[in-house]
């Protein structure tokens, strides 16, 4: 029989026992829906986590330190990259790093401990300079107040715990001013120094100048109070409690622990940094850039291994969600077998007539197969739609809950095209497998016996 005729007959047969076939198809749809809803939850959560982590800058960043002062949490193996001369992380290095291909941004880590004065109180705390790119990292979503108005603004964002130390009403701090007291590092040249002879005596002839540490104050306007710790994990150095724009922090020329070493090495005029963050275009570029930076004589660290672990966790998570969803589909496939076996009993005489009229065993088998496949196809389509509705309801409910907690809504369920298509194909395959036994049983019926059946 031609495929078109077979399809017409199958659809006609399905239409005739509309209630029973609809219920069976609904069973398949529920099975597919549970599978799709489970997997869409897995995909949605994975997408959400990936987006958040990517935007956090943890996985597209390489943390660079000078081998002189810090070898990072993952020291290189003894026989890894060839030994290079240790270098300072100074402006020259920054320029060199920013010229590497796939590098999008290089910024120094400016972090210092200082006194903060507000309304007559003086507190010692940790300050961190934030690059302007962290505005879009997602870490500041839900913050009270606003991000810095410009990359060089004299503004500060406070971490809530520290804000509570300064005031009983942290949000009321927004718009107020605080003062930083810090140690400024200033270089002076040989020519400008009156005690040249003394310096020469101290450092030996030919040493160029020195550095001075000068106490300074800086007044900053508080523009935001944040509940989470936006710098947690960046560089692996722990969080800070006061944030200011990176360029503003750079202009302060705060004395860094490396300054003394730089001075002793005879390079006091150029400021050096404890660490720099190199952002690359995408996480897959991290390894290559890390190698190039090591070749330049710096120590590096990235969280790429952590990403791999995360993917493993999500793959196992998806597998379990898929297994639970598949259980429902297995139950639905039993429904298909039951429906088709019942149909054979009911349509025994019809099978006999078809055979008497010249239908081959294959024709009869194909007819039952087509009916099972059609139930799978329709069940698959309805199931994907139902799964999407369940996923949307979950997202909707979660968003309402999060908004009540003053948190931004998130899309926790996501159905990519491959999941929708895969679920429909899977439903058809499961239905065809379920139809295998009834179809072959129908095909094997003896026409004489079938015609005798009342």
């Amino acid at each position: 029989m031609k495929t078109r005729d077979l399809s017409e007959l199958a659809v006609r047969n399905l239409r005739e026992a509309v209630l029973r076939n609809s219920l069976t198809t609904l069973g398949v749809a529920v099975g597919v829906a549970s599978l799709v809803a489970m997997l869409s939850l897995g995909v949605g959560l994975q997408t959400l986590a990936s987006q958040r982590l990517t935007r956090s800058g943890l996985f597209d960043a390489v943390f660079v330190t000078s081998q002189r002062n810090f070898r990072g949490p993952r020291p290189p193996a003894p026989d890894s990259a060839p030994k290079k001369e240790s270098r300072f992380l100074d402006e020259d290095a920054r320029q060199q790093l920013s010229k590497l291909s796939t590098v999008t941004e290089v910024y120094p880590q400016i972090r210092f401990v200082t006194d903060v004065r507000y309304a007559g109180k003086s507190e010692t705390t940790s300050v961190l300079g934030l690059p302007d790119s962290s505005r879009s990292s997602g870490a500041f979503e839900g913050m009270k107040g606003a991000f810095f108005s410009s990359p060089t603004a004299n503004e500060a964002i406070l971490q809530i715990d520290f804000a509570k130390v300064l005031s009983d009403q942290p949000p009321a701090l927004i718009g107020k001013e605080l003062t930083l007291r810090y140690a400024e590092r200033a270089a002076f040249s040989k020519a400008a120094d009156d005690d040249e002879a003394l310096l020469d005596a101290m450092m030996g002839a030919g040493k160029p100048g020195g550095i001075s540490i000068v106490p300074r104050e800086k007044t900053l306007r508080i523009v935001g109070v944040i509940e989470s710790d936006p710098s947690a994990g960046i560089g692996g150095f722990g969080g800070a409690r006061v944030y200011l724009p990176l360029k503003t922090a750079e202009q302060l020329h705060v004395a860094q622990p490396d300054d003394l070493q730089a001075f002793l090495s005879g390079n006091p005029a150029k400021p050096s940094y404890m660490a720099m963050t190199v952002r690359v275009r995408s996480p897959k570029d991290v390894l290559q850039v890390e190698d190039s930076i090591k070749q330049m004589g710096f120590a590096t660290f990235s969280l790429l291994d952590a990403t791999k672990s995360l993917r493993l966790v999500f793959t196992v998570f998806d597998l379990f969600l898929g297994l639970f969803g598949s259980l429902a589909l297995t139950v639905a496939s039993l429904g298909i077998i039951n429906t088709l076996v019942m149909a054979i009993l009911e349509r025994r005489r019809e099978i006999g007539i078809l055979k008497a009229l010249g239908a081959t065993d294959r024709d009869v088998r194909s007819l039952f197969f087509a009916e099972a496949g059609a139930m799978g196809l329709f069940g698959g389509f309805f199931g994907v739609a139902l799964g999407w509705l369940i996923g949307s309801a979950l997202t909707w409910g979660t968003t309402i809950y999060l908004r009540r907690q003053n948190l931004p809504g998130v899309k926790i369920s996501y159905i990519p095209w491959w999941l929708a298509l895969g679920a429909i194909i899977f439903a058809i395959i499961v239905s065809l497998v379920a139809g295998l036994y009834p179809a072959s049983r129908a095909a094997r019926l003896n026409p004489v016996d079938a015609l005798r059946y009342e």
């Binding site: 029989m1 005729d5 008497a356 009229l357 239908a359 081959t360 065993d361 026409p447 015609l451």
Partner: protein, 233 residues
């Protein structure tokens, strides 16, 4: 006048069924020849083996022993698919209980053998119309079997049997469920097919008067055996 060629040849055909420990011989060593264009009536009482013999000749069943040859081909040697093809292309069948599919309209029922034979859609329409006209059911083509009388249903079944233009038409008690008027109408149609289309007709019946009135030849079976053969009209 030259003798008509032999179309069907049954040679010492035996058909046994097993019911638990008991073996029932439904057809017992029957040999029979059917010539092209004949109207043969297989006459006998209930359980005489006439329907079993018809089923074997129609390719629906296989003998336990012996052979049935149609156009010199032993049906028992045909593969399952070849036997289905024989039923589709060489044979038309009519049953006592009409056996129209209740979900289909009359014309869809008549179209069914053409679907199975993969006949082109354009040809189907005209062939279905022609078959229905031949049994005078053209105006009822859109009706379902439940909307037709017994006689009309059997005429519809006749249309379905001849739509593939078979060489042989097997009719198993075609008048069994009909009153005498409708029964005669059906047999008249069978005679008409025999005369106008040159069809060979083999009919199973237990009604001797009808067999004598319409068939060219009567073969009488009793307890699975061929008792007499060759009463010609």
């Amino acid at each position: 006048m030259p003798a008509a060629p032999t179309l069907i040849q049954a040679e010492s055909v035996i058909r046994e069924y097993r019911l638990g420990e008991t073996v029932i011989r439904a057809v017992d060593d029957v040999s029979l020849t059917v010539e092209k264009g004949e109207f043969l009536a297989l006459l006998g009482s209930s359980g005489s083996g006439k329907s079993t013999l018809l089923s074997m000749m129609a390719g629906l069943d296989r003998p336990t022993a012996g052979a049935i040859r149609v156009r010199d081909r032993n049906l028992d040697e045909l593969e399952v698919d070849e036997l289905a093809r024989y039923r589709r292309e060489t044979v038309g069948m009519v049953f006592q209980s009409f056996n129209l599919l209740p979900r289909m309209t009359l014309e869809e029922n008549v179209e069914l053998p053409l679907r199975l034979a993969e006949v082109d859609r354009h040809d189907r329409e005209s062939r279905v119309a022609e078959a229905l006209e031949r049994v005078r059911l053209g105006p009822r083509r859109r009706h379902r079997p439940s909307e037709l009388s017994g006689g009309e249903q059997q005429r519809g079944a006749l249309a379905r049997a001849l739509v593939n233009r078979p060489a042989i038409l097997f009719a198993d008690e075609p008048t069994g469920n009909l009153d005498s008027v409708n029964g005669e109408q059906i047999l008249l149609l069978l005679r008409e097919f025999q005369d106008s289309l040159g069809m060979t007709i083999i009919m199973v019946t237990h009604e001797r008067p009808l067999a004598e009135k319409f068939a060219n030849r009567i073969a009488l079976l009793s307890d699975g055996r061929l008792v007499s053969d060759g009463v010609r009209h």
